[in-house]
């Protein structure tokens, strides 16, 4: 290695330090080694030259591979250069604050390393970093093309193995274009980190990995992965922490034979702003040449394995294929704990939305949007042996023919579904299991009544414009209209990440259901009528049938005391159209009935939502032109002698009924009664009423 004159070098360092101190005002605590810059030009270079200037550039990567570089060195490859049947096998290590940098110089196409069918000890690579630290690799194009020889191949291989294995630090890989590389097993692909060795060999770990803004297209097997042989070596101890401070950001990964982005044995890796597309048996390859690709089953797009504290966010995944199973964009795989998927967008993935494997625990899936993922395994697939899982404020939107289960539970830990929107365009089912709870979810479409959610909302979520997330950067169509019933209708979740899918802070008033926290002001309901009868007066009520008085039942209440025939009391304004009417109701007669009257026009035209002790039901009747018709009902355990809080909301042609705060039924009337008063009605029953309120 030719170096600058020893007499000049100290001077250069001194000047550098002086300049640094002048600029920053203080000398950096870590002195950056000056290093040497080497130039490589595939056309005009000459390996006999010094390599230390553009005019004296080296010619081949073979020359680079003979060197052992030192902290602060830079190896610059000329833009537009092409090296065929050559590769970079880089040696030496940088130091903290003084990494060794590979980059391009000049303008034009990225320097191209076409390593073809070359190999070292039976495996091919474009760039190898073996048993080294503090390297930064930038701005290269790497390919092998389709080669007939069956071997492991890598765009970039970062490997720790042999006598020099150990703890490595600071490997940054940025702005590479890696394409058309095909290997023979799952330890191959685009960018691979591998702690490699047998049970008695030294074990390797890495701290400080950045894989950023790379494009990886048409690669077998996996796009980006970290791997340790600790999984098969009992004596190795870093099964769950071989890779620390890992950031995988802004990569575009397409046409991959196996998995897209896979972090194994990571501690708190951050995987964000990546897009994966066409994952699983998706290589564009001439099988007459590349005849050795593995048979592939069960892949996922962006996932972790034996990892704690992973954060996957702001990623997009589409066209992940189900191959004899799996095929989801997201996957808490085996031994993944305390990890999060948030603010991700998935669509058109065959396997569904989320896979959760065995031996997982305390994982969170929140504020994600799934737009027409397919459902080969249902939307959520929680396999046996999983632990606790928190699924909240996601949107699962299906407008196609998907008809498998939208929810799922494991047979061990608990799955908690809160504040999610399930938009079920076909006939997807909901799972009920002792291993899951539902709380304040929105279920729209068929089977909405099936899920055991005491606070479910089954009305139209009223998205701004669903299924239109084609603008790539956004999914604004999944925001809620001001009229959405989901605004302020959710339940508080602690430690919720602090913002919604669109970056809005949580919460604005009460929590909303779905991935969007409505930011506008919601008109507060106005009470247009109330009566608690404490004025000892019910002269503003009109009665028909029965015997009515006020009686003390805790407080004064309106009471009808004759259990024969029809008894009605009504009040209010005939012009009231849309409103919410609530009251406390107590049925006094066993096997009797009592209900709220609304849009009451006269004794022949009204609706009534009633409790029926005979059959334990909540029933919605419509009386029109004197004909009484049961239009909807739901199971409810009526207890005579006990107060029940009844509520009905009538909005246009949609009627929603609640008892004790739980929505139990909803019905849409094709030709609704337009407006009317409120009241109480019973038949062959005695009952009481108190705390009447009407709000608009």
């Amino acid at each position: 290695m030719k170096r600058r004159s020893k007499a000049i070098l100290p001077l250069v360092i001194l000047v550098s330090l002086l300049l640094t101190s002048l600029v920053s005002g203080a000398v950096s605590p870590i002195a950056r080694a000056a290093g040497t810059t080497y130039y490589v030009d595939s056309v005009l270079g000459n390996d006999s030259s010094a390599g230390t200037s553009e005019a004296s550039a080296w010619k081949t990567l073979t020359k680079v591979n003979t060197m052992s570089f030192t902290p602060g060195d830079r190896i610059l490859l000329k833009a537009g250069s092409v090296w065929s049947d050559q590769y970079l096998d880089l040696k030496g290590s940088g130091a903290e604050g003084s990494p060794i940098v590979v980059d391009q110089y000049g303008s034009g196409s990225k320097p191209l390393i076409h390593f073809g069918n070359t190999s070292v000890n039976g495996e091919g690579f474009g760039v190898r970093l073996r048993n080294v630290s503090y390297w930064e690799i930038n701005n290269l194009e790497i390919t092998s093309g389709q080669q007939p020889t069956d071997m492991r191949r890598h765009g970039v291989l970062v490997v720790g193995e042999g006598a020099d294995a150990g703890s490595f630090r600071h490997i940054h890989i940025k702005n590479l274009s890696i394409h058309d590389i095909f290997g023979t097993d799952r330890r191959t692909g685009g960018i691979n980190f591998h702690a490699r060795g047998t049970n008695t060999a030294l074990e390797s770990t890495w701290d400080g990995i950045l894989i950023e803004n790379n494009t990886i297209i048409n690669v077998a097997d996996t796009g980006i992965q970290t791997m340790t042989d600790a999984f098969s070596n009992n004596a190795w101890t870093h099964k769950s922490d071989a890779f620390k401070n890992v950031v995988i950001r802004g990569n575009y990964v397409e046409k991959i034979h196996r998995d897209g982005i896979l972090v194994r044995a990571g501690v708190s890796p951050l995987i964000e702003y990546n897009t994966t597309n066409a994952i699983g048996n998706a290589c564009d390859v001439n099988t007459g040449v590349v005849s050795y690709l593995d048979h592939i089953a069960v892949v996922a797009a962006q996932w972790a394995y034996y990892t704690t504290g992973a954060v996957f966010q702001y990623n997009e995944a589409f066209d992940t294929r189900k191959l004899e199973g799996d095929g989801q964009p997201w996957d808490f795989d085996v031994q993944v704990k305390g990890s999060v998927y948030q603010y991700n967008y998935s669509h058109n993935n065959q396997g569904g939305t989320l896979l959760v494997m065995n031996d997982t625990d305390e994982n969170i899936f929140r504020y994600n949007i799934s737009q027409n993922d397919l459902d080969a395994n249902g939307a959520f697939h929680l396999t046996s042996g999983g632990g606790n899982l928190y699924i909240y404020n996601n949107i699962i939107y299906r407008s196609g023919t998907q008809n498998r289960a939208l929810t799922h539970a494991s047979n061990t830990g608990m799955a908690y579904y809160k504040n999610n929107i399930f938009y079920n365009g076909a006939s997807g089912q909901y799972t009920n299991s002792p291993r899951m709870t539902y709380d304040h979810n929105s279920f729209y479409g068929l089977n909405s009544s099936v899920a055991n959610d005491p606070y479910k909302i089954v009305g139209d979520p009223k998205f701004v414009s669903p299924n239109t997330a084609t603008g790539r950067a956004t999914a604004d169509g999944y925001k809620l209209l001001p009229t959405s019933p989901l605004i302020d209708a959710g339940v508080m979740v602690a430690a919720n990440g602090g913002k919604d899918f669109f970056g809005n802070p949580l919460y604005n008033g009460a929590p909303d259901i779905g991935a969007f926290e409505y930011q506008g002001t919601i008109p507060q309901p106005v009470t247009i009528f109330s009566d608690d009868f404490e004025d000892n007066d019910f002269s503003d009520w009109t009665v028909s049938g029965g015997s009515w008085n006020l009686t003390t039942d805790g407080s004064l209440a309106l009471s009808q005391n004759t259990a024969s025939g029809e008894a009605i009391a009504y009040t209010g304004n005939a012009s009231w159209d849309d409103y919410t009417y609530s009251a406390r109701i107590k049925l006094l007669t066993a096997s009797g009935n009592v209900g709220l009257l609304f849009r009451y026009m006269d004794n022949s035209n009204y609706y009534t939502l009633r409790l029926n002790d005979s059959g334990d039901k909540l029933e919605l009747y419509k009386k029109s032109g004197g004909a009484m018709t049961l239009v909807s009902s739901a199971g409810y355990a009526v207890t005579p002698g006990q107060w029940a809080a009844m509520k009905v909301t009538v909005s246009g042609n949609v009627i929603t009924g609640y008892v004790d705060g739980v929505q139990l039924l909803q019905w849409t009337d094709a030709s609704p009664l337009p407006a009317g008063k409120i009241g109480i009605r019973m038949h062959t029953s005695a009952a009481r009423m108190d705390d009447v309120k009407v709000v608009q």
Partner: protein, 262 residues
Amino acid sequence: MIQTNRKKNYLFFVGGILVLLVLVLLGVRWFGQPPASVISDGIMEQTQFPQDADAVVATVDGAPVTLEEFKVRLPKHRAEIMTYFQQTYGCDPGGTDFWSTPCGGEAPFARLKAVTLRLLIEDRVRELAADRAGIPVAIGYDAFLKEWEAENRTRADRLAAGQVIYGPREYSEPAYYRYVVSSTILGLKQWLLEHDRPPTEEQLRQAYADSVSGQSAPPAFEAVRDALAQQWSEERYESWFKAQLEQAEIEVNQQVYEGIML
């Protein structure tokens, strides 16, 4: 069908002569080898392009493939051509004269041009078909560039406002090109599924029988059903797209195309 537009060729020929005269007067070497300092770099610096900034290399049903677009896509296929010549003829793609010297009876640069043109024609055919199918798509390179720039602006604006995006914070032009191509193909496959009938159970079972023929332990039909349906969709798209290509009216402007030379 590839045709040559003779009338346009004539006009371009006359125009080209005039441009040539001006360049000669300006002392610029137009034909022949460029100076050694220029040839020292990659394929792009070895390549000479006609000087007309608005030149059109070809049209597809009237939609242009511009010279500017051709320039951008040309180097992207260099690795593919290198692999082809290495494997087919044993040529050395690392040689300094690789692009300019015929090998195995073929000229690598001519093949690079042909592959570039073919893929650009496919782009245009796909874009026009998507447009007819009602799938939002930019037609042509100018529109694509505008869409790409707008996309990155939107991403930057949203990030600056503390809002959420998904996928890269800034798409490189090549990555965004792939994203758009993939999304368009996905849209067309869905459109085909909606307008054709999806494969019948009988067709899928026949495909299964064909795929497991000779296997000693084949997977169960249900296990591979989705993969077979996917394959059916792929093949349907491929055959449909081939027909679109065959039906397209393609005119290559030979004056411009031949003017792209080493």
